[in-house]
Amino acid sequence: MQAKLTSGQIALAAAKRIVTLAYEKKASHIGGALSVKDILAVLYADILRYDPAVPGSPGRDRLFYSKGHACMALYAVLCETGFFNEDMLNTFTADGSYFTSHVNHKVPGIELSTGSLGHAFGVACGVALAANRKHQSHRVYVILSDGELDEGSNWEAFLFAAHHRLSNMVVIIDYNKVQSFGTVNEVMGLEPLADKLRSFGWDTTEIDGHDHEALRKTFASAAESQKPVAVIAHTIKGKGVSFMEGKLEWHYKSPSSAQWQEALASLEQNNV
């Protein structure tokens, strides 16, 4: 049993793993992995109830990771928190490995395979509904990307969860303002996003998605809400690696050896 890590320690370790995996395995989606890592670090350090030795234990809180392409962040955090070891993680994208480059439920700690956007939210609604019907107290978290709010299925789920008062549910939007082929504003603007979600019946908060204290407070107070809770987390794509921040190209590129070294140094320097 390893000593309990702080969210800051998890975030920094995960960020280093993300850039290293992207470099070693020539993987894409480094930008979206770095934007969401603080959200995941706070959830796994301070909020979620789970036992890495029994990933499917009935009383666990469920996390549905809809932005499955940013798999490196979740794999890295699950590795840091003891769901599997580094050797397993290092099979990432290798022939025959369950560590596919969109999250796979065959990996311990992953509730649902995703990768096609707009799927996990509906499934999470079913899980939250089941908890209500069975009078169970575990909570259901969903992490969405901003770009995937283009998918109509997510809006079906926003309607559904509010109508059925699934107050055991927290949806977090990793709002890094960049999507696959342009900025969110260029491709399909979401603003005013908070107003939209409030008008849909969601208890909605906007925060800095890299501020661990703000994330902790918001998640902790979500339990008090009588409505489903939406957290719009304003984030920066590529956060922590100065030359990647806000750059569309890091949705696709993997770092060269020199860029990898520079990224590691940048993460240390920015002390994310």
Partner: protein, 296 residues
């Protein structure tokens, strides 16, 4: 068929507390008895079939055996990817029920003609694909799906289908229910075309065999082997596009048997199905079936 389905579902749900029914804002005058009896295991998910299928997957992850119910293409083609990825990849106990198979909603137009579902759904791993031939088979298949772990698809007709089998079936589970044995020629049907085949063979006093095939996938290859050994001519009849449907599944099944050396002679197969077309005019189910050539 839909009444037989809901009656059987209620019967099963009385003993099996895992059964949950989700409807896509449809089922008026059909599903109310279930909703009244099991309010904790019923939900109208609204006109949002993609979300309904996701919700079904989530409920199934938590131990429910979930039936999603809507018309034709809505719980199926509309949400193919939720079926493929959320339900079937995770091998969850979600049973998709479509009413109005084929041209059961003939006058309502192409939106309501359910004529590509079998072909599209039977390519998906883990999914059991069923189209019972009459209310008796509907009860048997519903009971099977209530006790089956994993995904399933149930294609139903609508209302008023004739009962073809006298009394309950002798056998349950995946088999070919027999109407009559014959010589030389056999008709294999799936779904509501059973009535058409039976009426034709009886009216013309033909010495043909007739079997219903309510389970299209997995194909029962032993039953198919017996048919292939006993009959030189096989006619398949379905209310579905000719491409990738039931007749195609029969051809594939015979091919597998011949390739594996279990069947020495490939039977002469004649497929009767929809010839790759939409029907853009109104018509009763009988009218459209005749127009597109769904007859012996």
């Amino acid at each position: 068929m839909r009444t037989a389905f809901i009656d059987q579902l209620i019967k099963e749900a009385t003993e099996n507390e895992s059964i949950f029914l989700l409807v896509g804002d449809l089922g008026y005058s059909v599903v109310e008895p279930f909703a009244e009896k099991f309010p904790d295991r019923f939900l109208n998910a609204g006109i949002a079939e993609q979300n309904m299928t996701g919700v079904a997957a989530g409920l199934a992850m938590e131990g429910y055996n979930v039936f999603t119910y809507s018309i034709g293409n809505f719980p199926t083609l509309r949400c193919m990817e939720q079926i493929r990825y959320d339900v079937c990849y995770h091998n969850l106990s979600v049973k998709i029920v479509a009413v109005g198979g084929g041209y059961a909603y003939g006058p309502l137009g192409v939106s309501h003609h359910t004529t590509e579902d079998i072909g599209m759904l039977r390519t998906i791993p883990n999914l059991t694909v069923c189209a019972p031939g009459d209310p008796v088979e509907t009860r048997m298949v519903t009971s099977f799906l209530c006790n089956h772990s994993g995904p399933g698809y149930l294609r139903l007709g609508k209302a008023g289908e004739k009962i073809i089998h006298d009394g309950p079936l002798q056998e349950t589970g995946n088999h070919f229910p027999k109407i009559t044995e014959g010589k030389e020629t056999v008709v294999l049907t799936t779904g509501g075309m059973l009535e058409t085949a039976t009426a034709y063979v009886r009216a013309n006093n033909l010495p043909w065999g007739i079997y219903s095939v309510p389970f299209i996938k997995p194909m029962n290859e032993e039953a198919l082997l017996r048919i292939g050994g006993a009959y030189a001519k096989v006619i398949t009849l379905e209310e579905h596009q000719a491409s990738a449907g039931f007749g195609s599944a029969i051809l594939e099944g015979f091919n597998n048997l011949v390739t594996a050396g279990k069947l020495t002679r490939f039977p002469d197969v004649k497929r009767i199905a929809i010839p790759d077309m939409f029907v853009g005019y109104a018509g009763t189910q009988d009218y459209i079936r005749k127009q597109v050539g769904l007859h012996l």
